[in-house]
Symmetry: C2
Subunit: 280 residues, 2 copies
């Protein structure tokens, strides 16, 4: 029996770390690492981060966009990076932010969440601009195969206010409504006491009151970018996420990756240790 993704995240946080290591082979980082701006470069970068992460953390998050400029060769590199990470026992969240409707969304989900697919990961990020119902194909596939989906709910960039803090029915924000709709599904599909497998992306620097966010149930993992380089500190976790703090996978990229190939392992250990006292 496959362990549901939500429970696998809980175990990863319990036994390894709350830190989720971003694999973001941005062109400027490739240069810093002495690697070519090429498919071979992003492959090498990704494999080295996986190797450094495997001993310490439980979750990595490759940023799909940084592989895409190299086309099919970039995707071949991403396949290798994802496979290496999963072979090393890491949970892989493909940060793909896919969003579409019906069979089109189902095809994206098939790419990332079907066992045996070349790009098979453990979870993907998804964009709910076409509605949470439009993501049904991804949700269904995730539930069938013990995979996860992180739905973009509240991001911290100021530009996001237009779409995310607009109000639904004159009261709730779009962000709050998305969390409500996905939580209703989680309530129907999750065993009492377990973490649900449809989680949320909520930026670490988001002001919850401003964004109209409140707690939610059942518990579901939160992918929280914005720690480290982007300004949120591990010690802020409880203050920023309140009662939801135990659910947070703290995503860090640049704070780790800028340490370079020689320093990345130590940077991961150091950043993971900073979350050491917030284990659930």
């Amino acid at each position: 029996m496959t362990v549901p993704f939500g429970e696998r995240v809980r175990a990863a946080i319990d036994t390894r770390s709350r830190l989720c290591v971003g694999i973001d082979p941005h062109a400027s980082l490739l240069a810093e690492w002495g690697l070519d701006t090429s498919a071979a470069g992003v492959r090498e970068f990704g494999l080295r981060v996986v190797d450094a992460a495997a001993d310490t953390v439980g979750v990595v998050k490759p940023q799909v966009s940084f592989f895409e400029p190299y086309g099919s060769q970039g995707y071949a590199a991403l396949e290798d990076v994802i496979r290496a990470a999963r072979d090393a026992g890491l949970l892989v969240i493909a940060d793909a932010k896919r969003g579409d409707i019906g069979s089109t969304m189902a095809a994206y989900a098939a790419a990332w969440l079907t066992p045996g697919s070349p790009l098979e990961a453990d979870a993907m990020t998804a964009n709910p601009f076409l509605g949470t119902g439009a993501l049904d194909g991804a949700f269904t596939l995730a539930e069938a195969h013990g995979k996860g989906v992180f739905v973009l709910a509240a991001t911290s960039n100021p530009d996001a206010a237009t779409s995310q803090r607009a109000t639904v029915d004159g009261s709730r924000t779009v962000s709050a409504q998305i969390i409500r709709e996905v939580s209703e599904r989680n309530a129907r599909t999750t065993t009492e006491g377990e973490w649900a497998s449809l989680g949320f992306v909520i930026g670490a620097t988001v002001d919850w009151e401003d964004a109209g966010l409140t707690g939610f149930a059942p518990p579901a993992p939160i992918l929280g970018p914005g720690f480290g380089f982007q300004g949120a500190d591990p010690s802020d976790l409880d203050e920023r996420f309140g009662e939801a703090a135990p659910l947070v996978l703290a995503a860090e990229s640049r704070s780790i990756l800028s340490a370079g190939p020689e320093g990345v392992r130590e940077a991961i250990i150091r950043r993971a240790a900073a979350y050491g006292d917030v284990h659930v």
Copy 2:
């Protein structure tokens, strides 16, 4: 000097057709066409549609999601299909619906809009859930290289209401606000009398009043899915899009593709003819 994308769309509508042929190698269509559910199958499907479209229409729209399940091989097939289409003089809109922020969004844009990139198309679709400002990297690249971006503005699926018809500042819908923000940028970057290159995706079956939509300026191309199989008829164009009707690229997929490999060319000719009297 590169002709801006908006003007290239105008010319395509003027000289060829308003019909935009979708290249959607859905698994069920591959079966109908007698092709394998594989990267080779989607390549063959795409190349045949391109061949059939090249004599009649000016624009094709490959749906990226249907290539992604085959991983790097699927993307290699997509590269071949896009290249064949562009070599045949077709404008290619990559229906990728990418949406992210900052350098992450810029990397997606680099993949689809940079001259010489393996996946180089003429335009891409983009998702504004993180804000239209977050799409700046794509807009800037498009403007620099005569490429286009179609921003999701109003889709016709009922689920979309949560995000798209929520209200901004207690008045405008999110859809209307997105069109306003992008049009402000178009006004700054477009030569008087020309079509702008940052267009919109507006479903053909969207009720404009319901969605809070009004006209916009400067003129910019509208990608309108929902014609044909999904219920909108070419004769409805003026009623549905009003003064914006001349700007519409009418996207059809299933109505054409379900004709099978032997009938697809005739289906394109027949569907294109149905728009014959609405040329600008």
